[in-house]
Amino acid sequence: MGALKSVFRLLGAPFRLINSVMGRFLNTPFRQATAVFLFACGLIEVGIPFIPPLFGMPSAPVPNTVVLEYLVIALVGILLWVSDNEERWSEFKQPIHDVLVRPDRRIARGALFVIVPALVAAQTYFSAQPDISAPPSFRAIHPAPPSAITFQGEQMVLDGLENPLRSTGLLEEHYEEGKRVYYQNCLACHGDGLQGRGHYAQIFNPQPINFQDVGTIAMLTESFVFWRIAKGGPGLPNEGTPWNSAMPAWEDFLTADEIWSVIIFLYEQTGHDPRTWEVEGEEH
């Protein structure tokens, strides 16, 4: 029994430590509020980028506005807590009041008079510096497709259009033909892994599309993909910033069947299914 007791004692050690630290240093509402706020700052600033990887998603830097918003929420919560009863509220205010008023806190008061205006001045100095950055650019990722296009001089209606190769010939043959077309034309940018990481990819801004991503071909109809391949960057509407896109207009290089077969290759190789017109109809 003695052994069990000492095991429990050992297990409790960290909590006792926390408790004694809390008792010694975090013994007033002001200090507790400050500690909670600092903890929230650390968590929000450092912790958020670790959340997406837990769900298998890529991490990304957190925008400052989001950090700011979360911090404001944390601050409001803390203020609600310290002010929810009169006694704690006055206890919370006490140290602040002391610094402002008491003669023996002159040094702290003086230090605040130096530090706070200096911080404000520094902040003003940096924000007054001329801003050297690129103008903001906005880009529609999936601009609305036209209902019909002129493909190599002939009218082609995109609305309701299916991939004609899916109803003729062998899928295996179309896949092989599409693979040839892809490797001879698309590989340098979109890459062997179809992730938009070909050996030329890093040169371009915007970067080549990642077909493995569920947000690209998996949510598009084959006719949309045909339109994008056939007309490329130059065929984008203005909101797609056609002047930036390095995607060629493939109607200058490939036949319609070559484009349809490369579309079959894209879906087969990634394992995605194209969005179909029926499903889209049901959604509306």
Binding site: L100, V101, I132, K179, L187, D192, R197, N205, P234, N244
Partner: protein, 612 residues
């Protein structure tokens, strides 16, 4: 399922089987048996299937390195039937270890089209690929090769680098890689790989593009093992023969590493042109101003958007530096190019490149030996919103305004282009850009200088602080590049630096004063509220008033003296710019201000003395 049979709980009592403990026990056993799944379950991944799906497009289903994509690449995809592998930890001429092959599959080959597969294929698939690749050559049927012992890396430092440079000279690395390591040695134009294709000597100033890795240990490994199948030899033999020591080889690796930047350069969207206030604008590529000017890295790719395309650009990046003096912009562009095209030593090499690429595009080049070329491209005018010309020399609606430099013509010229290859030179009366160029040790440096505002109706006027789209295109004539077959970038921005705005100096003191005042008010309010505030008596009040007056007097004096100093600077600038009248009047104003300021200071001083 064999896994479940393993844990079939025959030996357990019925009672236990139905109890919760049983569930836990089964789960535990299941977990253990999963850990113990034999390797052959994993090995059921079929290497051939993985290979045919992901690798055959370049390397071919027969492994001979001639898949559909092969002739859009140089160096060509590896021919696995030859069993010649560049990245090995084994002696030259030996097979790679399984780990060597896996490393290349995982990490790819920098500087070539071979990507890393670590994030794309599972580990089992990659391991299965290693086994499958070995079936392409019967050489792998013998005993597995033994890796070399590389010993321990020596520490780097200036001494090692200096010794490395001596070794570089001694073992004649420069024959292929050139004096400064830019791949411009005298033998460089004669190089072929073992399959007969032309091959470049690596540019040692770009370690992020080294086959087999760019860090010291990886460079040492290449020096020890050579890159089999390429002209890069092993240096193990001369170490064994005692010509140089193993430590020398490490020093050489340190030296080669030192030729490249510390970190792989970062691509930044905005190129800034610093405003020069007291140095004259540089007029040559060798001006010292450039040493202190930030370099911007702009990677280029082959032009593969319009016909005829080019899949083998020689210029993989340009470095851009820019300064201006308020009147003119100086833009220095540098890039690695082994030859000053057209150079007859390289004509044959360029011809081989063109033949190897074998383009079927309409209008593709059939030979080499044209001039080197660089185009800096801007929009002809800045459009509303984010509109820009098409990044390949504009389009019919939005023309591009370009500066073209060619190695066979002195200077540069301005053009208006409405699509790739449509550039039309502006009339001589409208030419404002000047250019000087220098080719040394495998590097071109071209300096463009142009007035910020040329007053030409068709030229883009540059204004400080405004982001101007800018793009680059480069051609190496001796690599068979001309017309639309060259290297291109997409749009970047050029921003000309401005003189520091007055607000930078005015706003912080104002903010400081306001915060201080606010703080004082808060404290006073708090002290009054708590009864701590004592109303000062008459004597103390008078003393404070005197103090306040003294401070005010001093402040006025200092401010007037500051203004006097400003006037002095204006005056000097006026005289120097040849505006004598401005200089004169500012001098008068400055003199008066100085007298007033000094007067205020002295007056305050006298006043406080007498009042004491």
């Amino acid at each position: 399922m064999p896994v479940l049979q393993n844990v079939s709980p025959n030996g357990l009592s019925k009672k236990l089987r139905s109890s919760p403990q049983c569930v836990v026990l089964v789960a535990l056993l299941l977990g253990v048996s999963l850990l113990a799944v034999p390797g052959d379950v994993i090995a059921q991944v079929d290497g051939q299937v993985v290979y045919n799906q992901w690798c055959a497009g370049c390397h071919g289903e027969d492994g001979a390195g001639a898949g559909p994509a092969a002739n859009t690449m140089l160096p060509r995809p590896r021919d696995f039937t030859l069993a010649l592998y560049q990245v090995r930890t084994t002696s030259s001429g030996e097979l790679p270890t399984d780990a060597d092959m896996l490393k290349v599959i995982n990490e790819g080959m920098p500087g070539t089209a071979m990507p890393g597969w670590e994030g794309v294929l599972t580990e089992a698939e990659r391991l299965a690929l290693v086994d499958y690749l070995k079936t392409f050559s019967r050489f792998f049927q013998g005993d597995p090769p033994t890796p070399l012992d590389f010993g321990r890396a020596t520490s780097g430092g200036a001494d090692a680098i200096a010794r490395g440079e001596e070794v570089y000279q001694m073992v004649e690395c420069w024959r292929c890689h050139g004096e400064q390591g830019r791949g411009d040695g005298e033998s460089a134009p004669t190089l072929n790989d073992d399959t007969g294709f032309p091959i470049f000597a690596a540019d040692l100033t770009e370690n992020w593009r080294f086959n087999g890795g760019g860090e010291v240990g990886e460079i040492y490994r290449v020096l020890r093992t050579g890159l089999d199948g390429t002209p890069m030899p092993t240096f193990s033999d001369i170490v064994d023969a005692g010509v140089i020591t193993d430590e020398d080889l490490w020093s050489l690796a340190h030296y080669v590493r030192s030729l490249s930047p510390e970190d792989e350069p970062e691509v930044r969207e905005v190129v800034t042109a610093k405003l020069l206030t007291d140095t004259p604008l540089p007029q040559t590529v060798a001006d010292v101003v450039w040493e202190g000017t930030e370099r911007f890295y702009v990677p280029l790719s082959g032009q593969i958007v319009v016909q005829p395309r080019w899949f083998n650009p020689r210029v993989d990046a340009v470095w851009v530096q820019a300064v201006h003096d308020g009147r003119e912009l100086a833009l220095l562009v540098s890039w690695g190019d082994p030859s000053e095209s057209p150079d007859t030593l390289w004509t044959d090499f360029g011809g081989q490149v063109v033949t190897t690429m074998g383009s079927e595009d309409e209008g593709a080049a059939t030979g080499s030996g044209t001039a080197d070329q660089l185009v800096v491209q801007f929009p002809q005018e800045l459009y509303e919103g984010q509109e820009r010309p098409y990044f390949l020399q504009g389009d019919t609606r939005r023309p591009a305004y370009t500066w073209t430099w060619q190695s066979d013509i002195a200077g540069a010229f301005e053009s208006i282009a409405r699509g790739m290859g449509t550039a039309a030179r502006q009339p001589d009366s409208e030419q404002h850009v000047r250019a000087t160029a220098q080719h040394a040790d495998g590097e071109w440096k071209v300096l463009f200088v142009r007035p910020l505002d040329t007053e030409g109706a068709e030229d883009l006027a540059l204004t400080a602080g405004q982001a101007v789209p800018m793009a680059f295109q480069a051609w190496d004539g001796d690599n068979g590049e001309s017309g639309s077959q060259g290297a291109v970038s997409t749009w970047y921005f050029l921003v000309l630096g401005q003189p520091t705005p007055v607000a930078v100096y005015v706003a912080p003191p104002v903010a400081l004063a306001l915060t201080l005042l606010f703080g004082l008010l808060v404290v006073r309010q708090a002290q009054m509220g708590s009864g701590m505030w004592r109303e000062p008596d008459a004597a103390a009040r008078a003393k404070r008033a005197a103090k306040r007056r003294q401070l005010a007097g001093m402040a006025v004096g200092v401010i007037w003296l500051g203004m006097a100093f400003g006037s002095y600077q204006n005056s000097r600038a006026g005289w120097e710019a040849g505006y004598a009248d401005l200089g004169f009047w500012w001098a008068i104003i400055g003199g008066l201000l100085a007298i007033a300021g000094l007067g205020a200071l002295i007056g305050t001083w006298i006043h406080t003395r007498t009042s004491k």
